[in-house]
């Protein structure tokens, strides 16, 4: 059974429709990428999964259970963690408090404060600092660590490389591969197509609120992806 199964999902901002019937599955242990141009609806999709955007009751199943339309704080405690676009570190909290609040409703599992510090030693060194005092890359690590603290069964990542220098992006992805290596099922949004394809088992390409292409990177040609990405 799929860990996450989304069927014909639609999403609206007022009268504006952002998603037009998106169907997408993630199997346990899989690493799935979502690519697509700006405004294609990638963030809206992740936000709908965790209930930050309203969706129909049957539109999404997590581990076979309908989660559509349920409040966000209930959905995430079932075992979904989102690293939101723009990181969204809590500015009034220290680095360590940001991690601890990530584990506020933690499930049992491999991740703990000590293990997150093992993975991100720079966070340990800065544990007493406030969130905004960190560099962009460190904040991104903190946002990832905060999500891990919940011991999620499904990790959602929204553009972790946004606004980071290439060398920092490499660093972030190296650490992500450790996380993925633990068997954490991961669904991530990435603008950098090459990087997305090199990391994932399967990829979905969003275009104007619809899925234009889906498949394993091996089975897709550059031309197909370019066509799906730009809509040419």
């Amino acid at each position: 059974m799929s860990l996450l199964s989304v069927h014909e999902l639609t999403a609206f901002y007022g009268d504006f429709q952002a998603l037009f019937g998106v169907t997408l599955d993630v199997e346990p242990g899989e690493v799935v990428a979502i690519i697509g141009a700006n405004g294609a609806g990638k963030s809206t999709f992740l936000r709908s999964v965790v209930g930050l955007c309203a969706s129909a009751a049957k539109a999404a199943l997590f581990d076979g259970r309908p989660i559509g339309g349920r409040p966000t704080h209930e959905i995430v405690t079932l075992g979904i963690a989102l690293v939101p676009e723009g990181r969204r570190i809590f500015p009034s909290l220290t680095v360590e408090e940001n991690l601890l609040i990530g584990g506020h409703r933690a499930r049992p599992g491999p991740w703990s404060l000590a293990r997150v510090y093992d993975l991100f030693p720079m966070l340990y060194e800065r544990r007493a600092m406030s969130g905004p005092a960190l560099s962009g890359g460190q904040q991104q690590m903190l946002a990832i660590g905060r999500a891990l603290m919940a011991n999620p069964r499904l990790l959602l990542l929204d553009e972790v490389s946004l606004g980071l220098a290439p060398i920092v992006v490499n660093d972030v992805y190296t650490r992500l591969s450790t996380i993925v290596g633990e068997g954490t099922t991961t669904l991530f949004v990435e603008q950098d197509v090459g990087r997305a394809l090199s990391v994932c088992h399967r990829v979905y390409c969003f275009q104007e609120g619809r899925i234009a292409l889906a498949g394993s990177p091996r089975d897709l040609t550059r031309a197909q992806i370019a066509a799906a990405y730009f809509g040419v």
């Binding site: 409040p71 704080h73 405690t77 809590f90 909290l93 905060r146």
Partner: protein, 290 residues
């Protein structure tokens, strides 16, 4: 010696003012809402204590065992049922709704209890005093209230900085949406914050009722004291709120010493001076860029 006495009385009065202000500061700090009915809830709590004392025969201090949870529950209900609907709609709706609450509470109390002055009788402790050198004597009760104020502020400080709930309060104040991603129900968190604020309001109301006479119409005056206390101390600083209460308390007793009619006026002048010299309050942390 008389002046010394006035200063000491003022410091002790500051504990009561800190109790008035703590709830206002808590609600504003977390939700950015000024509860205009704050003073009326203080008076409502005092009347609740009158009822509890009348029905159960408990003294006013022991009545807190019932009044604090009742007010806490009321706070939770007011937040979830009423205030929550006004948030995210700009500054005006919460102000209008709490102003309406203020009017409603005053009139309800007037209907039920009439306009007569009341007092909570705590027996000997309200008049007992400790003699210090010469003519200086301080009352037991003001000391107890001062300690209650210090303990309330210290308790809030510990709650905010050391507990998971306090962390959730601060995170919710930062970012309502992201806090939900942490598995925290932001609406419940807000409800708990107001419940705690109302618990302190209950304590403040009972202390006020033992100290002085009260009637249904004096709530807005307590709101003003609470407001000035918070602003003098600095928003977002709990110890500042205690210090703000002490400063305002001293201003009131010194003013009253000059001439009983100057009591409030001196307080307002100190408040205005602080606003002119340090608009962010005396003990505020540096303002964060957002």
């Amino acid at each position: 010696m008389d002046w010394m006495n006035a200063v000491i009385q003022g410091v002790l009065l500051g504990g009561l003012y800190a109790l008035f202000a703590a709830g206002l500061s808590l609600v504003f700090g977390i939700m950015r809402v000024v509860n205009l009915a704050h003073g009326d809830f203080i008076i409502l709590a005092a009347f609740l204590s009158v009822v509890v004392v009348g029905v159960t025969g408990l003294g006013p201090f022991l009545s807190l065992v019932i009044v604090v949870p009742l007010m806490g529950g009321l706070g939770y209900a007011v937040q979830r049922g009423l205030l929550a609907r006004t948030l995210d709609r700009g500054v005006l709706p919460p102000l209008l709704v709490t102003f309406g609450l203020s009017v409603i509470i005053q009139n309800l109390l007037l209907q039920i209890f009439s306009a007569d002055d009341r007092r909570l009788d705590a027996g000997g402790i309200s008049t007992a005093s400790i003699g210090i050198a010469g003519q200086l004597a301080i009352g037991w009760f003001p000391v107890v209230v001062f300690l209650a104020g210090v303990l309330a502020i210290a308790g809030l400080q510990i709650l905010f900085t050391r507990t998971a709930l306090g962390r959730a309060f601060r995170a919710t104040a930062d970012d309502q949406e992201t806090v939900r991603l942490m598995g925290i129900d932001n609406r419940h968190t807000y409800g708990l914050a107001v419940a705690i604020a109302f618990g302190i309001v209950a304590l403040a109301g009972v202390c006020l009722g033992i100290r002085t006479t009260f009637s249904p119409d004096i709530g807005p005056g307590r709101l003003l004291v609470a407001f000035e206390t918070v602003v003098i101390g600095g928003l977002g600083s709990l110890w500042g709120t205690l210090m703000g209460g002490v400063i305002l308390g001293i201003a009131h007793t010194i003013g009253a010493k000059l001439d009983p009619a100057y009591r409030e006026l001196t307080g307002h002048l100190v408040f205005l001076l602080v606003l002119l010299a340090r608009p962010q309050g005396l003990f505020a942390k540096p303002v964060r860029e957002t």
